[in-house]
């Protein structure tokens, strides 16, 4: 289908609006988004084809004069651009009763660039009926795997994103697609109901259709094991993290703390650790929309800054953080392409994209063999950041006990990792030589501003408090 015709039809109006507002503001940019997302879901008794939550269409205007930023979000740029410009300027009244002054900062980056980006996908060669049929057939096979399955759900999400960015010196547009599939089980055995899922993502439908069903047997086996899982005895253990939990650590334990809008607010302890050891010397960590191809890969961010590939930790030393345009201007640093919005209706913040530890040199079997008693932890459930004080809460769906260097059949669930971030990162003693990222999750800023992210990496061996 290619870049949005609607956004294309508003390109000249956006340029005109930038020009009019530019007479009063040093910096004016407009981001337009026209994104179409479809959620196809089949479960035991119902199915649906509906709008996915990434669907949006609208514009946001950003204005700046070296002080407070102004943003105005709207559905369309009407034909009377002058009237719209007047409406926008009139909207930014501040009550005289407000006791607080505004920030000041360096001039915003607006280097000249005109470019179009496109990432190919096979999405448009598939009809809704074909994807629905895949979901139905996959679900039927999954449901038939085991009499303990109460409900098997198969879902397919597609999102086609078109974005247009116009400023005085830049004119960028991008069009890309990402698709994901998920199998979800509600399973009853041992007088216990458990829920678990498997995920697959790609920019091609054919990849997801090929790979997702391969995870079926593992999913059913896991559901069975979880039905017999016991609570973990709280304590400090040697652990091996699977790539999902490695990603959870990269994202929650450390990633939020290097979002540089938190540096501006003095909310991140990491600000004081740039150039210092924060992790074991074998650790390397990156974030970037251009670092790998996953769900958070784009060509330019919502500030019109090209996608980055930022080395955050190199050989255990914190190198730098990631930033959006506004925080970079306040810190006097170059933006890293991490300005992201939940939608055009929401503010841009510094946000992670694809965040991961780089692979190491160890073999996973050697890592497991090195543990006398501990756990291997699997599958992210959720996590919560604490960038100022580096406390951790990362929840894994389950763990498997390791005894005398071997994985046992003893499952524990759920498993909450807690402790102090540098203690955890400095305890990393082995890193496997494989690498996987997964984009099944959403990330919030605090408890809001949800954006899609991926994270992952290799397996890590560390020592951490579990409960």
């Amino acid at each position: 289908m290619g870049f949005s015709q609607f956004l294309d039809s508003r390109r000249d109006r956006a340029k005109a609006l930038v020009k009019i507002l530019g007479a009063q503001f040093n910096y004016v940019s407009i981001l337009g988004a026209d994104s179409k997302s479809t959620q196809i879901q089949v479960n035991a008794n119902t199915s649906g084809i509906n709008n996915g939550q990434d669907t949006e269409c609208g514009f946001v205007v950003k204005l700046n004069n070296g002080s407070c930023f102004f943003e105005y979000a709207m559905d369309d740029i009407g034909a009377d651009v002058a009237a719209l410009a007047a409406e926008i300027k009139a909207a930014f009244s501040v009550s005289s009763a407000l006791k607080h002054s505004s920030i000041s900062h360096t001039a915003l980056t607006d280097e000249p660039l005109v470019k179009s980006f496109n990432r190919p996908s096979d999405l448009h060669t598939y009809s809704d009926a074909q994807i629905l049929d895949f979901c139905r057939k996959t679900r039927a096979v999954l449901q038939g795997k085991n009499e303990h399955i109460l409900n098997a759900i198969v879902a397919f999400n597609t999102v086609e994103i078109s974005k247009l960015f116009i400023s005085a010196n830049r004119e960028l547009d991008q069009n890309y697609i990402y698709v994901s599939g998920m199998m979800f089980l509600v399973y009853r055995e041992n007088e216990k109901v458990v829920q678990t899922y498997a995920f697959e993502g790609s920019n091609n439908v054919s990849d997801v259709m090929a790979k997702l069903p391969q995870k079926m047997d593992e999913l059913v086996t896991r559901a069975h094991q979880l039905a017999f899982a016991k609570p973990i005895e709280p304590g400090v253990y040697d652990v091996i993290t699977d790539p999902s939990i490695t990603g959870l650590i990269a994202h929650e334990a450390f990633g939020h703390g290097v979002e540089m809008d938190q540096f501006v607010k003095d909310r991140a302890l990491a600000k004081e650790y740039v150039g210092k050891y924060v992790a074991s010397p074998i650790c390397n960590m990156r974030d970037g929309a251009a670092s790998t191809l996953d769900i958070a890969s784009y060509f330019f961010d919502d500030d019109g800054v090209l996608a980055g590939d930022t080395q955050i930790i190199k050989d255990g030393i914190l190198v730098t953080g990631i930033s959006d345009l506004a925080s970079a201007a306040q810190l006097g640093t170059p933006p890293t392409g991490n300005g992201r919005r939940e939608s055009t209706r929401r503010k841009a913040y510094t946000r992670m994209t694809n965040t991961f530890f780089e692979k190491g040199t160890d073999k996973l079997e050697d890592m497991i063999a090195s543990i006398q008693h501990g756990y291997m932890l699997f599958e992210t459930d959720n996590g919560m950041e604490d960038p100022k004080n580096w406390a951790i809460q990362c929840v894994a769906q389950y763990g498997i006990e390791i005894v005398d260097g071997k994985l046992t059949e003893n499952y524990v669930s759920p498993v909450v990792m807690s402790g102090y971030v540098p203690d955890l990162l400095k305890s990393i003693s082995m890193i496997s030589d494989d690498f996987v990222t997964c984009g099944s999750g959403f990330c919030g800023k605090g408890y809001k501003e949800w954006v899609r992210v991926s994270d992952g990496g290799p397996a890590l061996k560390a020592r951490v408090k579990l409960g």
């Binding site: 008794n45 407070c68 102004f70 505004s102 458990v194 669930s413 408890y447």
Partner: protein
Amino acid sequence: MINLESMLRTNSQVTDYKINIHEIKSYEMFFVKGKLETLRRTNTCDTCVTVYVSHGEFLGNADFLVYPSTTEEALKDLISKAAERASLIDNKPYSLPAGGPEDCTVDSNFAKLRPEELAAKVANTVFDANSLPNGSLNSVEIFLNQHHETVVNSRGLRKSQTRYDAMVEAIPTYNGSIQSVELYKQYNFSNLDEKALYQEIADIMQAVQARYEAVKPQQKLDCKVILNKKELRELFFSISRNLRYSSVFNHSTVFKKGDDVQKNPTGDLISITMAGALEGNVCSAKFDSDGLSLGTQRIVEDGKALAYFGDNQYGQYLGEKPTGSLRCLHAATGSLSQKALLEGPYLEIIFMSGLQVDFFSDYIGGEVRLAYYHDGQKIIPVTGISVSGSVSDVLSSIRFSETEATQDGYTGPEKAMLTGMKIF
């Protein structure tokens, strides 16, 4: 709207339709270390159209979004495509709610002020509440929203409501000589009560000073645990999620009607009522997205699951009367006085990363960022600990305060006393 409805009526495949229109006007302020960093306004309208297609013994539905920029030609295509999609869906039939016109407003004092005046009042109150030496609010975000929601369907239903909400996100910080520490505060409200807002912020400022002073306990703690309203909200909503029509229909539940939510109870008995609106509750609404008028539904009584609740489709599938999506939860208070709650050694949790409640794994717990440990003689702020336990064991012996509090959709006991939790 009239044009949209007439276009939907003229499509021969469309059996029924529903239109949800959501207009939002917002005024948002973002402060960094007390200075205004960003001022935002939004003026947007989403129109979501759901088409229903009856085919054979089935009913299918599919939805699409319409924007002010959507042309008539594009709209015709969207309707046809949605009808095609709906015809692929083989769901059991159910009916849309019928009704006539109704225009409601959820009470709020927001309408009395211009948004910039309201925002200034909120901002000034928040910053004034920080009177702590060495205390600061490093980040404050204020969101004021006016929502106008309309539901129209092909059965004559035509309801609209205006409601307001506000959210303050504040990051209280204490800058001491040894370190700087912070906590997180999100406060949602739909009526401006400056005194209440001031107190919420003042309390979290006191808490952040306590976090600075907090120490990791040197010895293992073994005592009762006291939860406050934020964690109780999570606990009670976790129970209610098990009793939604959709959860029951999809087997994603651990409770059925008549089951004991509390097994062999020795503490206070749990009673929960779901409601469309509760006084002072930010989640209050007059009707849900299907246009169903929202009343109340008692779902747990004296520790037993009494009834389910939920939306139109799944209610009909279960042969129950749809209650609508009730977003407010009222839980009965208990028998514990403040004095009884605070007797003997206890750990009162003030701030957690997030209480994890998992009925499937029978787990309750999480990382504690600030708690007050009372050793029987003095109160010590503590940090760096976690708690965990069996949620079914905890519910059996839980005791609730006789005082009530409200937090984001929850109105119920202000505090609860838990026994049998591991502190580590």
